[in-house]
Amino acid sequence: MNWELIGDILLATVPLLVIFPSMFALTTWVERKALARIQNRIGPNKVGVPLTPYGGRLSLFGLGQPAADGIKMLFKENIVPTGADRLFHLLAPILSLIPAMLVLCFLPLEFPWLNGEQNSVKAFMLDGAVIFFFAITGLNTLAVFMAGWASRNKYSLLGGMRAIAQMVSYEIPLVLSAVVVVMIVGSLNAAEIAEAQAGWNWYVFQPWGLAAFVIFFIAALAETNRSPFDLPEAESEIIAGYFTEYSGFKFALFFLGEYIAMFAISGLAVTLFLGAGGGPGVEALPWLKVIWFLAKVCILIGVMIWLRGTLPRLRVDQLMGFAWKFLLPLSILNIFIAGFAWHAKNANEGTAVSVIVWVSALITLYAAAKGLDRVNRAKVKPRAYQYGE
Amino acid sequence: MSEAIPHDPVLQQFPEVEWEEEFGTLIVPTTKATEVAIWLRDDHAFRLDYCSNVTGIDYLNREFKEKVKNEEGKTETIIHKDPARMEVVYHLYSMEKRTGPLVMKQRTTREKPEAQSLTPVWRSCELQEREIYDLFGINFTGHPDQRRILMWDEFEGHPMRKDYVEPFDYEWEPTPHDEILEKHQKGKVIF
C-alpha cells in the first residue's frame, strides 16, 4: 500500500468534498437572496448565528439560513408512501448524489498543494475524462426514474418519464458540442484541454466555440433540470415531479445532488470553453487558478439563477423539438464548421483571410441558427387587437 | 340599461305562452320550452343568443296580506294566495343586438318537478341546470350529464328547497353561544 498515494488522493478529494457542499450551502442562500431581489423581496435576512445560549445573535444577512434549512431537513419525518418500493425509494436519492460527486474529480482544479512532480491529481486526470464525465452523469437519469417509479405516485411517474425523455435527448447536443473542443485539442484529458486554452485562447472567443458553448449551456440547463427546462419537477403541472413523495433527508440528498450536478456541469463548461483556471495574474500566482475556476463556475450558476427568475418553462413537445430539431442539427453543423474554420485559420495564421474565415464562420452559424429557428417556428408572434365602443 | 325586449311576438307565435304582468316574465309550459327557446334564439327579431342566468325558485303555499286603501279611505286587507310551485328562470340577452333581458320561466309542480333542459339550445345552461337539479331537485329531461354538482353524490335531499330541514349536524364545532351548543348540552350531538 502506497501511503503517499493515499495521502495525495486524500489531499485531492477532501477539498472537493469540502468546497462543493459548502458552495452548495452558500448557493442555496445566494439563490434565495438573488431570486428574492429579482422579485423585489428581501429574502432570508433574519437567521443568524446565536452568540450565546441566552440571546444575542449575529445575523449576517440571513447567512444562517442554509444551516437552519439543513437542520430542519434532518429532523423532518421520512415518509414513504404505502405501496412504494422501499428499497428503490431509498436508493434513488443516493444514486442521484453519487455520480454528481464523482464527476467533480475530473474537473481540472489545480490546488496549490498538488503542484509537485508527483502530481497525484493525475490519478483522476484520466485520458478519457470528458467521456467518463458524460458516462457517469448519465447515471443520474436512472436515479430520477428510479425515484419516479418507486414512489408509486402518478405525478412522480410522469415526472420520471419526462426526465428520461429530456435527459436522454439533451445528452446528445451536450456531447456533440463538447466534441468540438475535444476535436480541436485532440485530447479527452481535462488538464490538456485547460492547458490548450492558456493565455486568453478561450474557445468561447471562437465562433464555433461560442456556438458550442451556447448549445452546451442550454443542454446543461436541461440536464440539470433547471428552468426553463425544469419539466420533470414542474410545480404547476405535476406537483414536484419525481420527488413528490420525498421528504426530510432523502429530499435533501436530491437537492444536494441536483446542485452538485450543476457545479459539475458548469465546471465542465468552464473547462471546455472558458479557459478553465485561466485568468489575469495566473502566471505570477498559480493558486489563483482555483479561484478563477470557481469564480467562473459561480458566474455560470448566477446566470442559471437569473434565468430561473425570468423564464417560464417549456412544454414537453416543445422541449423535445428544441433538442432534436434545433440543437442537434446546429451542433452537428458546428462540428464541420469548427473543422473547416480551424484548418483554414491555421493555414493562414495572421492574415486577412483568417479574419474572413472567422467572420464567415460566425455568419454561417448565425444564419443556420436563424434558418433552423424559422423552420421550427410555428406561427408564433405578437398579435394585433381591435377596440370596440 | 340595455333595451327591453317586446314580448308580444312570442305570445302571438306561441299561444300557450303566458305573460306574467307582475314580474314581467314569460311563462312557458314545460312541454314547449325547447321549441320556444330555439325560436327565440334563431328568430331575427329576437336573436337571444346568450342565456345569462338560469336558476330555480321554490314557492311554498303562501298567503300575502296587503293593506290597500279603498276609495273611502279605509284600509282593507286583501289576501293573495300564492300556490306552491317550482320555477326555472332564464335570463336571456342578445349579444348580437345588445338587447335584453327577456325573462322566461318554466313552471312545474313541487311534487314531481320536471322541466325541459335547454342545454341543447344554450350551452351555458349545462352547469347551471345541473346546479338546479342538485339544489332544487328539478329533473331536466334531455340534459346530457345530469349529476349532482355542488353537493357530493351521496347527499340526500335538495338544500335550496324552502322546506329543506338540515340533517343532523355532522360538522359540529363547539361555539360558545349557539343552538348547536344547546343541542350538545342536551346530548343530541354525538361525536
Binding site: L35, I38, E237, P312, Q318 | S52, F64, H91, I149
Partner: protein, 382 residues
C-alpha cells in the same frame, strides 16, 4: 430476430395494450387556484378526457342569504370572488336598488366607478401573474403584480377599513366617505401604473416561451363562447365585442370615454385571453383618470330608509366584474329578507367550456387553460 417473431406477436395481442392514466388533478394541486378538481385521463401527456369536479368550497351562500336581511348578506358577497369584493358589492347593490327606488348621489357613483376600476386593475394584474406562474415562471411576474396590488389594497383599506373584504357599498350609496387625501393618493397610484404596465409588458408580452406556450392553446370559437355564456375578457378574447359597461351603461359609465379591447376572433386562445386583460388594464386607467378628474364633493349616501323592505318584485342586476358578468337575481316578497337570492357567478359559467378546450391538449396546457379562464373558487362553489 426471426426466431423471436412468434413471441413478439404474442405480446402484442393483449399485454402491450396500454391503459390510460387517470389522474385526479386537485383538490390539492398547486395550480388549481383553490380546491378545484379535474379528473383527467391521460394518454402519455395528452389529455383524452377531463371532467371538472366542483363543490369543495360549497357553503350554500344563497340559502344563507335567504335567511338574513338584505343588508346582512352584503359582507358575504365579499367572499364570493375574494379578489374583487368591490364589484361583487356593486352587483348586489345594483340588484337591490332595482327593488327600491333610491337616488344615488353623484359622489357615490363616481367612487363606485373608481373602486370597481381599481378592482379590475387588481384582478387583471394578479391574474396575469398567476397565469405566468402556471406557465412555470417561479412567481417573478406574480410578485411584481402583487407589489402593485398592495398599493391598491392600501387604498381600499384606507377607504373601507379592510384590504380584501371591503364591504363598502350600501343600497343607495357607500358606507362612508373616503378619508381626506385619498383621491390624491389614488391619483398617484393610477399615474404610476402605466409605467409598471410597460415594464410588465416588456417582461411578458414578447417572451418567446410565453408566446409558444400560449398561442394555439385552448382555442375557443366565437360561436361556442356565445352559446356557452362566456363573459368578460374571455368572451372578448374570442372576438365578441360585448362589455356590460358599454351595453348596460350601469352607474355612470356612459360619462367616460373608454374602449373595449377584443381580439379578431380567429383563434381565441390563451394568448388572446392574456393580452385582452393586459389591454383592458390600460383602458381602466383611462376611466380612473377621468373619474378622478370628474369627482366632486357631496353626500355619499342616498335617502334610503333604515330598513330595507322592498315590495314584491323581481330584479336582476348585473355588472361587468373583472371575471365576466356578475349578476344578482333577487326575488322580494315584501319582507326584510329576500325570498330568492341567486348569484350568477362568471367564473363558474366560464368553466362550462373547460372540457372542450382541454381535450387533445397536453397536461401542461390544461393547467394554463384553467389559469386563463380566471376562476376563484369562492365564487365557483359559493
Amino acid at each position: 430476430m426471426t426466431a423471436a417473431a412468434p413471441n413478439y406477436e404474442l405480446i402484442q395481442q393483449d399485454d402491450l395494450e396500454t391503459s390510460l392514466l387517470e389522474v385526479s388533478m386537485g383538490p390539492h394541486h398547486p395550480s388549481t387556484h383553490g380546491v378545484f378538481r379535474m379528473d383527467v385521463k391521460l394518454d402519455g401527456e395528452t389529455v383524452v378526457d377531463l371532467k371538472p369536479v366542483f363543490g369543495y368550497l360549497h357553503r350554500n351562500h344563497e340559502k344563507l342569504a335567504e335567511s338574513m336581511s338584505y343588508l346582512a348578506s352584503m359582507p358575504f358577497t365579499d367572499r364570493l370572488d375574494y379578489f374583487n369584493s368591490m364589484t361583487n358589492n356593486w352587483a348586489y347593490a345594483l340588484a337591490a336598488e332595482q327593488l327600491i327606488e333610491i337616488e344615488i348621489p353623484e359622489r357615490a357613483e363616481y367612487l363606485r366607478v373608481i373602486m370597481s376600476e381599481l378592482t379590475r386593475l387588481v384582478n387583471h394584474v394578479s391574474l396575469v401573474g398567476f397565469f405566468v406562474n402556471d406557465l412555470g415562471a417561479l412567481g417573478t411576474p406574480l410578485l411584481y403584480a402583487f407589489r402593485e396590488r398592495e398599493k391598491i389594497l392600501d387604498l381600499f383599506e384606507q377607504a373601507s377599513g379592510a384590504r380584501m373584504m371591503c364591504n363598502y357599498f350600501r343600497f343607495g350609496g357607500l358606507r362612508c366617505d373616503v378619508p381626506e387625501g385619498w383621491l390624491d393618493r389614488t391619483r398617484e397610484v393610477v399615474d404610476r401604473f402605466p409605467k409598471f404596465l410597460d415594464e410588465y409588458e416588456k417582461l411578458l408580452c414578447e417572451n418567446e416561451i410565453i408566446l409558444s406556450r400560449t398561442q394555439d392553446v385552448g382555442n375557443l370559437s366565437k360561436e361556442l363562447a356565445i352559446s356557452a355564456g362566456i363573459t368578460g375578457p374571455m368572451l372578448r378574447a374570442s372576438g365578441v365585442n360585448y362589455d356590460i359597461r358599454k351595453v348596460d351603461n350601469y352607474g355612470i359609465y356612459d360619462r367616460f370615454k373608454f374602449r373595449v379591447p377584443y381580439s379578431k376572433g380567429e383563434v381565441g386562445d390563451c394568448y388572446d385571453r392574456f393580452m385582452v386583460r393586459m389591454l383592458e388594464m390600460r383602458e381602466s386607467i383611462e376611466i380612473l383618470k377621468q373619474a378622478l378628474d370628474g369627482i366632486e364633493s357631496g353626500p355619499i349616501m342616498g335617502n334610503a330608509g333604515k330598513v330595507f323592505k322592498p315590495a314584491k318584485a323581481e330584479a336582476y342586476g348585473r355588472v361587468e366584474a373583472p371575471k365576466g358578468e356578475l349578476g344578482f337575481y333577487l326575488v322580494a316578497d315584501g319582507t326584510t329578507q329576500p325570498y330568492r337570492y341567486r348569484v350568477r357567478p362568471p367564473s363558474f359559467i366560464n368553466l362550462t367550456v373547460l372540457q372542450d378546450m382541454c381535450i387533445g391538449q397536453q397536461v401542461a396546457d390544461a393547467v394554463i387553460i384553467l389559469g386563463s379562464i380566471d376562476i376563484v373558487l369562492g365564487e365557483v362553489d359559493r
